[in-house]
Amino acid sequence: MSAGKKLLIIDDDPDFVDGIRSILLSAKYEVDVAYNPKDGIKALQTNPYDLLLLDIMMGRGAEGVMVARKIRKDPKLRETPVLIITGIREQMAFLFPGQAVHPHFVPVDELVEKPVEPQLLLEKVSNLIKTAEERKAKA
Protein backbone atom coordinates (compact mmCIF):
# COMPACT_ATOMS: atom_id res chain seq x y z
CA MET A 1 0.00 0.00 0.00
CA SER A 2 2.61 2.49 1.10
CA ALA A 3 5.34 1.13 -1.17
CA GLY A 4 6.86 3.84 -3.32
CA LYS A 5 4.55 6.53 -1.96
CA LYS A 6 6.32 9.80 -1.47
CA LEU A 7 5.38 12.23 1.30
CA LEU A 8 6.48 15.74 2.14
CA ILE A 9 6.44 17.20 5.65
CA ILE A 10 6.48 20.98 6.05
CA ASP A 11 7.07 21.80 9.70
CA ASP A 12 9.52 24.11 11.47
CA ASP A 13 9.98 21.94 14.57
CA PRO A 14 12.81 19.49 13.77
CA ASP A 15 12.13 17.37 16.85
CA PHE A 16 8.50 16.92 16.00
CA VAL A 17 9.47 16.14 12.40
CA ASP A 18 11.87 13.41 13.60
CA GLY A 19 9.11 11.80 15.60
CA ILE A 20 6.61 11.81 12.79
CA ARG A 21 9.06 10.88 10.01
CA SER A 22 10.26 7.85 11.93
CA ILE A 23 6.69 6.53 12.17
CA LEU A 24 6.12 7.11 8.44
CA LEU A 25 9.44 5.46 7.54
CA SER A 26 8.53 2.43 9.63
CA ALA A 27 5.45 2.09 7.41
CA LYS A 28 7.71 2.16 4.32
CA TYR A 29 6.84 5.59 3.05
CA GLU A 30 9.46 7.76 1.40
CA VAL A 31 9.64 11.02 3.32
CA ASP A 32 11.06 14.43 2.42
CA VAL A 33 11.12 17.33 4.84
CA ALA A 34 11.04 21.10 4.48
CA TYR A 35 11.62 23.11 7.63
CA ASN A 36 10.05 26.34 6.40
CA PRO A 37 7.22 27.39 4.06
CA LYS A 38 9.57 28.66 1.37
CA ASP A 39 11.52 25.42 1.00
CA GLY A 40 8.23 23.56 1.23
CA ILE A 41 6.69 25.32 -1.74
CA LYS A 42 9.91 24.85 -3.72
CA ALA A 43 9.89 21.11 -2.98
CA LEU A 44 6.24 20.81 -4.00
CA GLN A 45 6.93 22.55 -7.29
CA THR A 46 9.97 20.42 -8.16
CA ASN A 47 8.85 16.95 -7.08
CA PRO A 48 5.55 15.11 -7.28
CA TYR A 49 4.27 14.02 -3.86
CA ASP A 50 1.48 11.63 -2.96
CA LEU A 51 0.68 13.54 0.20
CA LEU A 52 1.67 16.66 2.10
CA LEU A 53 1.81 16.85 5.90
CA LEU A 54 1.49 20.53 6.73
CA ASP A 55 2.05 22.27 10.05
CA ILE A 56 -0.08 25.37 10.52
CA MET A 57 1.68 27.34 13.23
CA MET A 58 5.08 28.06 11.74
CA GLY A 59 7.39 31.01 12.02
CA ARG A 60 5.77 34.09 13.44
CA GLY A 61 2.22 32.88 13.11
CA ALA A 62 0.01 30.76 10.93
CA GLU A 63 2.49 30.64 8.02
CA GLY A 64 1.20 27.18 7.14
CA VAL A 65 -2.00 28.85 6.03
CA MET A 66 -0.05 30.79 3.41
CA VAL A 67 1.33 27.52 2.08
CA ALA A 68 -2.17 26.08 1.95
CA ARG A 69 -3.45 29.11 0.02
CA LYS A 70 -0.64 28.82 -2.52
CA ILE A 71 -1.39 25.14 -3.04
CA ARG A 72 -5.08 25.86 -3.50
CA LYS A 73 -4.37 28.44 -6.22
CA ASP A 74 -2.21 26.02 -8.20
CA PRO A 75 -4.46 23.74 -10.32
CA LYS A 76 -1.89 20.95 -10.34
CA LEU A 77 -0.78 21.10 -6.70
CA ARG A 78 -4.29 21.33 -5.34
CA GLU A 79 -4.89 17.68 -6.27
CA THR A 80 -2.28 16.64 -3.67
CA PRO A 81 -4.02 15.47 -0.50
CA VAL A 82 -3.01 17.42 2.62
CA LEU A 83 -2.92 16.28 6.22
CA ILE A 84 -2.97 19.40 8.33
CA ILE A 85 -1.21 19.05 11.65
CA THR A 86 -1.91 21.73 14.19
CA GLY A 87 -0.71 22.36 17.72
CA ILE A 88 -4.20 22.89 18.93
CA ARG A 89 -7.64 22.58 17.45
CA GLU A 90 -8.82 25.90 18.89
CA GLN A 91 -6.27 27.67 16.72
CA MET A 92 -8.02 26.32 13.67
CA ALA A 93 -11.37 27.52 14.93
CA PHE A 94 -9.81 30.91 15.39
CA LEU A 95 -8.21 31.02 11.97
CA PHE A 96 -11.14 29.56 10.10
CA PRO A 97 -14.32 30.25 11.98
CA GLY A 98 -17.04 27.78 11.25
CA GLN A 99 -14.84 25.05 9.85
CA ALA A 100 -12.86 23.91 12.84
CA VAL A 101 -12.79 20.21 12.13
CA HIS A 102 -12.37 19.98 8.41
CA PRO A 103 -10.66 22.95 6.82
CA HIS A 104 -11.19 22.16 3.11
CA PHE A 105 -8.15 24.01 1.90
CA VAL A 106 -7.93 21.63 -1.02
CA PRO A 107 -10.32 18.96 -2.33
CA VAL A 108 -8.78 16.24 -0.15
CA ASP A 109 -7.59 17.24 3.30
CA GLU A 110 -7.98 16.46 6.97
CA LEU A 111 -6.90 17.83 10.29
CA VAL A 112 -5.14 16.18 13.22
CA GLU A 113 -3.80 17.57 16.44
CA LYS A 114 -0.19 17.32 17.62
CA PRO A 115 0.93 14.87 18.90
CA VAL A 116 -0.54 12.24 16.58
CA GLU A 117 -0.91 8.61 17.66
CA PRO A 118 1.00 6.41 15.19
CA GLN A 119 -2.03 4.33 14.29
CA LEU A 120 -4.17 7.39 13.64
CA LEU A 121 -1.41 9.03 11.64
CA LEU A 122 -0.92 6.02 9.36
CA GLU A 123 -4.64 5.56 8.97
CA LYS A 124 -5.22 9.18 7.95
CA VAL A 125 -2.25 9.16 5.58
CA SER A 126 -3.30 6.01 3.75
CA ASN A 127 -6.97 7.05 3.62
CA LEU A 128 -6.14 10.47 2.20
CA ILE A 129 -3.88 8.99 -0.47
CA LYS A 130 -6.58 6.48 -1.36
CA THR A 131 -9.30 9.13 -1.58
CA ALA A 132 -7.11 11.34 -3.76
CA GLU A 133 -6.32 8.44 -6.08
CA GLU A 134 -9.99 7.54 -6.43
CA ARG A 135 -10.76 11.15 -7.22
CA LYS A 136 -8.10 11.18 -9.87
CA ALA A 137 -9.37 7.93 -11.40
CA LYS A 138 -12.88 9.37 -11.70
CA ALA A 139 -11.73 12.57 -13.35
Binding site: D13, D15, F16, D18, G19, I20, S22, I23, S26, M57, G87, I88, E90, Q91, K114, P115, V116, E117, P118
Partner: protein, 368 residues
Amino acid sequence: MDDLFKILIIDDEEVVLDSCTMILEGGNYDVATASNGELGVELAQDFQPGLIFVDLKMPGISGFEVIERINAIDPSIVVIVITGYATVSSAVDAMKRGAYDFLPKPFTPDEFRLITQRGVEKRTLVLETQALRREKEALREQFAAIVSHELRSPLGAIQQNLFALTIDLAEKLTDDQKNRLDRMKVRIDDLLKIISTWLRAISGDISQIRDSFKPTDLNTVILKAVESLQIQATRKDIEIITNIIESMNPVNGDEVTLTEAMVNLIGNAVKYSRGGSKVEVQAQQEGDKIVISVIDSGVGIAREDLPYLFDSFTIGKTGTAGERSSGIGLSVTKRIIEAHDGILTVESEPGKGSIFRITLPVTQADLI
Protein backbone atom coordinates in the same frame (compact mmCIF):
# COMPACT_ATOMS: atom_id res chain seq x y z
CA MET B 1 -0.25 72.08 29.26
CA ASP B 2 -1.43 68.51 29.06
CA ASP B 3 -0.07 67.82 32.50
CA LEU B 4 -2.61 70.11 34.15
CA PHE B 5 -5.37 68.30 35.99
CA LYS B 6 -8.74 69.43 34.63
CA ILE B 7 -11.37 70.48 37.15
CA LEU B 8 -14.89 71.65 36.42
CA ILE B 9 -16.95 73.60 38.95
CA ILE B 10 -20.71 73.78 38.49
CA ASP B 11 -22.49 76.32 40.72
CA ASP B 12 -25.11 79.02 40.13
CA GLU B 13 -23.40 81.45 42.52
CA GLU B 14 -20.74 83.43 40.73
CA VAL B 15 -19.00 84.16 44.03
CA VAL B 16 -18.44 80.48 44.61
CA LEU B 17 -17.11 79.94 41.08
CA ASP B 18 -14.73 82.86 41.37
CA SER B 19 -13.43 82.08 44.81
CA CYS B 20 -12.93 78.39 44.03
CA THR B 21 -11.05 79.28 40.86
CA MET B 22 -8.88 81.65 42.84
CA ILE B 23 -8.15 79.10 45.54
CA LEU B 24 -6.92 76.63 42.92
CA GLU B 25 -4.85 79.22 41.06
CA GLY B 26 -1.14 78.48 41.12
CA GLY B 27 -1.84 74.79 41.59
CA ASN B 28 -1.29 72.28 38.84
CA TYR B 29 -4.88 72.66 37.67
CA ASP B 30 -6.84 73.74 34.63
CA VAL B 31 -10.16 75.03 35.97
CA ALA B 32 -13.40 75.57 34.03
CA THR B 33 -16.71 76.77 35.44
CA ALA B 34 -20.39 76.46 34.55
CA SER B 35 -23.22 78.49 36.06
CA ASN B 36 -25.91 75.82 35.68
CA GLY B 37 -26.41 72.08 35.32
CA GLU B 38 -27.09 72.05 31.57
CA LEU B 39 -23.90 73.95 30.79
CA GLY B 40 -22.05 71.81 33.29
CA VAL B 41 -23.01 68.54 31.63
CA GLU B 42 -22.07 69.99 28.24
CA LEU B 43 -18.67 71.06 29.55
CA ALA B 44 -18.16 67.67 31.20
CA GLN B 45 -18.23 66.28 27.68
CA ASP B 46 -16.19 68.94 25.87
CA PHE B 47 -13.68 69.86 28.56
CA GLN B 48 -13.20 66.27 29.78
CA PRO B 49 -12.39 67.05 33.39
CA GLY B 50 -11.09 64.46 35.85
CA LEU B 51 -12.85 66.05 38.79
CA ILE B 52 -16.16 67.93 38.97
CA PHE B 53 -17.61 69.96 41.81
CA VAL B 54 -21.39 70.21 41.68
CA ASP B 55 -23.68 72.43 43.70
CA LEU B 56 -26.70 70.40 44.72
CA LYS B 57 -29.17 73.27 44.73
CA MET B 58 -29.33 75.09 41.42
CA PRO B 59 -32.04 76.49 39.21
CA GLY B 60 -32.75 74.26 36.17
CA ILE B 61 -31.65 70.65 36.38
CA SER B 62 -30.68 69.65 39.90
CA GLY B 63 -27.25 68.65 41.14
CA PHE B 64 -28.53 65.09 41.56
CA GLU B 65 -29.41 64.87 37.90
CA VAL B 66 -26.08 66.37 36.91
CA ILE B 67 -24.32 63.63 38.86
CA GLU B 68 -26.30 60.97 37.05
CA ARG B 69 -25.65 62.45 33.62
CA ILE B 70 -21.92 62.79 34.30
CA ASN B 71 -21.86 59.20 35.44
CA ALA B 72 -23.44 58.19 32.16
CA ILE B 73 -20.82 60.13 30.19
CA ASP B 74 -17.82 58.71 32.02
CA PRO B 75 -18.09 56.90 35.34
CA SER B 76 -14.39 57.43 35.99
CA ILE B 77 -14.93 61.19 36.48
CA VAL B 78 -14.82 61.95 40.19
CA VAL B 79 -17.74 64.07 41.40
CA ILE B 80 -17.73 66.01 44.65
CA VAL B 81 -20.89 67.68 45.83
CA ILE B 82 -21.03 71.21 47.22
CA THR B 83 -24.04 71.52 49.41
CA GLY B 84 -25.48 74.60 50.98
CA TYR B 85 -27.85 72.69 53.14
CA ALA B 86 -25.40 70.36 54.74
CA THR B 87 -27.84 67.78 55.83
CA VAL B 88 -26.53 64.27 56.04
CA SER B 89 -29.42 62.96 53.99
CA SER B 90 -28.80 65.05 50.87
CA ALA B 91 -25.11 64.23 50.95
CA VAL B 92 -25.83 60.53 51.37
CA ASP B 93 -28.34 60.76 48.53
CA ALA B 94 -25.73 62.35 46.28
CA MET B 95 -23.17 59.70 47.16
CA LYS B 96 -25.67 56.98 46.42
CA ARG B 97 -25.94 58.42 42.93
CA GLY B 98 -22.22 58.18 42.47
CA ALA B 99 -20.71 61.26 44.11
CA TYR B 100 -17.37 60.54 45.74
CA ASP B 101 -17.57 63.04 48.62
CA PHE B 102 -19.28 66.23 49.74
CA LEU B 103 -18.24 69.66 50.91
CA PRO B 104 -20.64 71.68 53.08
CA LYS B 105 -20.92 75.43 52.48
CA PRO B 106 -19.41 77.59 53.79
CA PHE B 107 -15.89 76.19 53.52
CA THR B 108 -12.40 77.59 54.01
CA PRO B 109 -9.82 77.70 51.19
CA ASP B 110 -7.82 75.02 52.99
CA GLU B 111 -10.82 72.73 53.20
CA PHE B 112 -11.42 73.22 49.48
CA ARG B 113 -7.76 72.59 48.60
CA LEU B 114 -7.72 69.46 50.71
CA ILE B 115 -10.86 67.94 49.21
CA THR B 116 -9.61 68.85 45.72
CA GLN B 117 -6.43 66.97 46.43
CA ARG B 118 -8.40 63.95 47.61
CA GLY B 119 -10.52 64.09 44.47
CA VAL B 120 -7.43 64.22 42.27
CA GLU B 121 -5.94 61.25 44.10
CA LYS B 122 -9.17 59.33 43.71
CA ARG B 123 -9.28 60.02 39.98
CA THR B 124 -5.66 58.91 39.59
CA LEU B 125 -6.46 55.67 41.40
CA VAL B 126 -9.53 55.06 39.24
CA LEU B 127 -7.52 55.54 36.06
CA GLU B 128 -4.75 53.31 37.35
CA THR B 129 -7.26 50.61 38.22
CA GLN B 130 -8.73 50.79 34.74
CA ALA B 131 -5.29 50.54 33.16
CA LEU B 132 -4.39 47.59 35.38
CA ARG B 133 -7.62 45.84 34.52
CA ARG B 134 -6.96 46.27 30.81
CA GLU B 135 -3.42 45.04 31.30
CA LYS B 136 -4.71 42.03 33.21
CA GLU B 137 -7.06 41.19 30.35
CA ALA B 138 -4.26 41.55 27.81
CA LEU B 139 -2.04 39.34 29.96
CA ARG B 140 -4.75 36.76 30.21
CA GLU B 141 -5.07 36.61 26.44
CA GLN B 142 -1.34 36.67 25.90
CA PHE B 143 -0.86 33.97 28.47
CA ALA B 144 -3.32 31.79 26.62
CA ALA B 145 -1.35 32.21 23.41
CA ILE B 146 1.94 31.51 25.14
CA VAL B 147 0.60 28.44 26.87
CA SER B 148 -0.80 27.05 23.68
CA HIS B 149 2.33 27.40 21.66
CA GLU B 150 5.32 27.53 23.95
CA LEU B 151 4.23 24.77 26.30
CA ARG B 152 2.31 22.48 24.04
CA SER B 153 4.81 22.43 21.18
CA PRO B 154 7.77 20.95 23.06
CA LEU B 155 5.52 18.47 24.84
CA GLY B 156 3.98 17.48 21.52
CA ALA B 157 7.43 16.93 20.03
CA ILE B 158 8.50 14.79 22.99
CA GLN B 159 5.33 12.73 22.81
CA GLN B 160 5.67 12.24 19.07
CA ASN B 161 9.17 10.88 19.59
CA LEU B 162 8.02 8.56 22.37
CA PHE B 163 5.41 7.25 19.92
CA ALA B 164 8.11 6.74 17.31
CA LEU B 165 10.55 5.13 19.73
CA THR B 166 7.90 2.67 20.86
CA ILE B 167 7.69 1.44 17.29
CA ASP B 168 11.42 1.64 16.53
CA LEU B 169 12.40 -0.24 19.69
CA ALA B 170 9.49 -2.69 19.75
CA GLU B 171 11.82 -5.67 19.26
CA LYS B 172 14.61 -4.51 21.53
CA LEU B 173 12.90 -3.40 24.72
CA THR B 174 12.04 -5.62 27.67
CA ASP B 175 8.48 -5.61 28.95
CA ASP B 176 9.54 -3.50 31.90
CA GLN B 177 11.13 -0.93 29.59
CA LYS B 178 8.05 -0.86 27.38
CA ASN B 179 5.94 -0.39 30.45
CA ARG B 180 8.01 2.61 31.51
CA LEU B 181 7.76 4.09 28.03
CA ASP B 182 3.98 3.70 28.20
CA ARG B 183 3.86 5.41 31.56
CA MET B 184 5.87 8.31 30.19
CA LYS B 185 3.35 8.67 27.39
CA VAL B 186 0.47 8.67 29.86
CA ARG B 187 2.13 11.35 31.98
CA ILE B 188 2.76 13.59 28.99
CA ASP B 189 -0.74 13.01 27.73
CA ASP B 190 -2.08 14.10 31.16
CA LEU B 191 0.07 17.20 30.99
CA LEU B 192 -1.19 18.09 27.51
CA LYS B 193 -4.77 17.65 28.68
CA ILE B 194 -4.21 19.84 31.72
CA ILE B 195 -2.70 22.56 29.55
CA SER B 196 -5.75 22.46 27.29
CA THR B 197 -8.03 22.83 30.28
CA TRP B 198 -6.06 25.71 31.72
CA LEU B 199 -6.05 27.34 28.36
CA ARG B 200 -9.81 27.09 28.12
CA ALA B 201 -10.21 28.33 31.67
CA ILE B 202 -7.92 31.29 31.17
CA SER B 203 -9.14 32.35 27.77
CA GLY B 204 -12.57 32.42 29.33
CA ASP B 205 -14.34 30.12 26.92
CA ILE B 206 -14.69 27.22 29.33
CA SER B 207 -18.42 27.34 28.66
CA GLN B 208 -17.55 25.67 25.34
CA ILE B 209 -17.54 22.38 27.20
CA ARG B 210 -21.30 22.79 27.44
CA ASP B 211 -21.52 21.75 23.79
CA SER B 212 -20.42 18.26 24.72
CA PHE B 213 -22.52 17.81 27.85
CA LYS B 214 -24.16 14.44 28.34
CA PRO B 215 -25.54 12.51 31.31
CA THR B 216 -22.50 11.76 33.43
CA ASP B 217 -22.21 9.43 36.39
CA LEU B 218 -20.44 11.20 39.23
CA ASN B 219 -19.60 7.89 40.84
CA THR B 220 -17.27 7.13 37.94
CA VAL B 221 -15.87 10.66 38.01
CA ILE B 222 -15.00 10.50 41.70
CA LEU B 223 -13.53 7.01 41.55
CA LYS B 224 -11.38 7.96 38.56
CA ALA B 225 -10.11 11.03 40.37
CA VAL B 226 -9.35 9.05 43.53
CA GLU B 227 -7.55 6.39 41.53
CA SER B 228 -5.29 8.89 39.82
CA LEU B 229 -4.27 10.36 43.19
CA GLN B 230 -3.74 7.06 44.97
CA ILE B 231 0.02 6.96 44.39
CA GLN B 232 0.52 10.48 45.73
CA ALA B 233 -1.62 9.72 48.78
CA THR B 234 0.08 6.43 49.55
CA ARG B 235 3.46 8.12 49.29
CA LYS B 236 2.42 10.58 52.02
CA ASP B 237 0.67 7.86 54.04
CA ILE B 238 -2.71 9.48 53.59
CA GLU B 239 -5.83 7.37 53.21
CA ILE B 240 -8.55 8.51 50.80
CA ILE B 241 -11.93 7.28 51.97
CA THR B 242 -14.94 7.44 49.68
CA ASN B 243 -18.46 7.54 50.97
CA ILE B 244 -20.66 7.70 47.89
CA ILE B 245 -24.34 6.93 47.60
CA GLU B 246 -24.51 4.44 44.74
CA SER B 247 -27.91 5.34 43.36
CA MET B 248 -27.33 8.98 42.44
CA ASN B 249 -28.90 10.48 39.34
CA PRO B 250 -26.43 11.44 36.63
CA VAL B 251 -25.61 15.10 36.06
CA ASN B 252 -25.58 16.81 32.70
CA GLY B 253 -21.89 17.40 32.19
CA ASP B 254 -18.48 16.75 30.75
CA GLU B 255 -16.67 13.81 32.32
CA VAL B 256 -13.13 14.99 31.53
CA THR B 257 -13.40 18.42 33.14
CA LEU B 258 -15.51 17.17 36.06
CA THR B 259 -12.84 14.56 36.76
CA GLU B 260 -10.23 17.29 36.61
CA ALA B 261 -12.20 19.38 39.09
CA MET B 262 -12.34 16.41 41.47
CA VAL B 263 -8.63 15.67 40.97
CA ASN B 264 -7.88 19.30 41.86
CA LEU B 265 -9.95 19.24 45.05
CA ILE B 266 -8.88 15.81 46.28
CA GLY B 267 -5.31 16.55 45.19
CA ASN B 268 -5.33 19.73 47.28
CA ALA B 269 -6.71 17.82 50.24
CA VAL B 270 -3.84 15.34 49.95
CA LYS B 271 -1.36 18.15 49.43
CA TYR B 272 -2.37 20.00 52.59
CA SER B 273 -2.88 16.92 54.82
CA ARG B 274 -0.34 15.60 57.25
CA GLY B 275 0.99 12.06 56.95
CA GLY B 276 -1.16 9.45 58.65
CA SER B 277 -4.37 11.46 58.28
CA LYS B 278 -7.42 10.76 56.16
CA VAL B 279 -9.11 12.55 53.29
CA GLU B 280 -12.78 11.81 52.89
CA VAL B 281 -14.87 12.20 49.76
CA GLN B 282 -18.61 12.13 50.33
CA ALA B 283 -21.31 12.28 47.70
CA GLN B 284 -25.03 12.20 48.16
CA GLN B 285 -28.17 13.34 46.44
CA GLU B 286 -30.31 15.99 48.12
CA GLY B 287 -33.48 16.39 46.09
CA ASP B 288 -32.51 17.44 42.58
CA LYS B 289 -28.97 18.28 43.62
CA ILE B 290 -25.87 16.23 44.19
CA VAL B 291 -23.53 17.39 46.91
CA ILE B 292 -19.92 16.26 46.90
CA SER B 293 -17.72 17.11 49.87
CA VAL B 294 -13.97 16.74 50.07
CA ILE B 295 -12.96 16.79 53.70
CA ASP B 296 -9.45 16.94 55.08
CA SER B 297 -7.98 17.50 58.51
CA GLY B 298 -4.93 19.28 57.17
CA VAL B 299 -3.38 22.69 57.63
CA GLY B 300 -6.51 24.69 56.74
CA ILE B 301 -6.80 28.14 55.22
CA ALA B 302 -6.43 31.46 57.02
CA ARG B 303 -9.63 33.48 57.21
CA GLU B 304 -8.07 36.46 55.41
CA ASP B 305 -7.03 34.24 52.48
CA LEU B 306 -10.49 32.78 51.89
CA PRO B 307 -11.91 35.62 49.74
CA TYR B 308 -9.05 35.28 47.22
CA LEU B 309 -8.92 31.50 47.21
CA PHE B 310 -10.64 31.07 43.86
CA ASP B 311 -8.82 33.88 42.03
CA SER B 312 -6.34 32.93 39.32
CA PHE B 313 -2.70 33.06 40.40
CA THR B 314 -3.45 33.33 44.09
CA ILE B 315 -0.50 31.21 45.08
CA GLY B 316 -1.31 29.02 48.04
CA LYS B 317 0.97 27.76 50.75
CA THR B 318 3.33 24.94 49.90
CA GLY B 319 1.96 21.52 50.81
CA THR B 320 2.89 19.56 53.90
CA ALA B 321 5.57 17.74 51.90
CA GLY B 322 6.75 20.89 50.13
CA GLU B 323 4.43 20.51 47.12
CA ARG B 324 4.19 23.65 45.05
CA SER B 325 1.02 25.54 44.28
CA SER B 326 0.39 26.93 40.81
CA GLY B 327 -2.38 29.19 41.99
CA ILE B 328 -4.61 28.07 39.18
CA GLY B 329 -6.20 24.76 40.20
CA LEU B 330 -8.97 26.18 42.35
CA SER B 331 -9.81 28.95 39.91
CA VAL B 332 -10.12 26.42 37.10
CA THR B 333 -12.14 24.11 39.33
CA LYS B 334 -14.56 26.89 40.16
CA ARG B 335 -14.99 27.75 36.49
CA ILE B 336 -15.57 24.11 35.60
CA ILE B 337 -18.21 23.74 38.31
CA GLU B 338 -19.90 26.99 37.32
CA ALA B 339 -19.97 25.93 33.67
CA HIS B 340 -22.00 22.98 34.98
CA ASP B 341 -24.43 25.35 36.74
CA GLY B 342 -22.94 24.19 40.01
CA ILE B 343 -21.56 25.91 43.08
CA LEU B 344 -18.19 25.46 44.78
CA THR B 345 -17.89 26.52 48.41
CA VAL B 346 -15.29 26.18 51.13
CA GLU B 347 -15.23 26.05 54.88
CA SER B 348 -11.94 26.01 56.66
CA GLU B 349 -10.34 26.39 60.02
CA PRO B 350 -6.59 26.95 60.25
CA GLY B 351 -4.89 23.96 61.83
CA LYS B 352 -8.03 21.83 61.72
CA GLY B 353 -8.70 21.30 58.02
CA SER B 354 -10.94 22.27 55.12
CA ILE B 355 -14.15 21.14 53.48
CA PHE B 356 -14.66 21.87 49.80
CA ARG B 357 -18.19 21.31 48.65
CA ILE B 358 -19.57 21.01 45.13
CA THR B 359 -23.29 21.24 44.49
CA LEU B 360 -24.44 20.14 41.04
CA PRO B 361 -27.96 19.91 39.62
CA VAL B 362 -28.92 16.41 38.46
CA THR B 363 -29.87 15.96 34.83
CA GLN B 364 -33.35 17.20 34.02
CA ALA B 365 -33.94 14.44 31.46
CA ASP B 366 -35.46 11.93 33.86
CA LEU B 367 -37.51 14.56 35.65
CA ILE B 368 -39.53 15.29 32.52
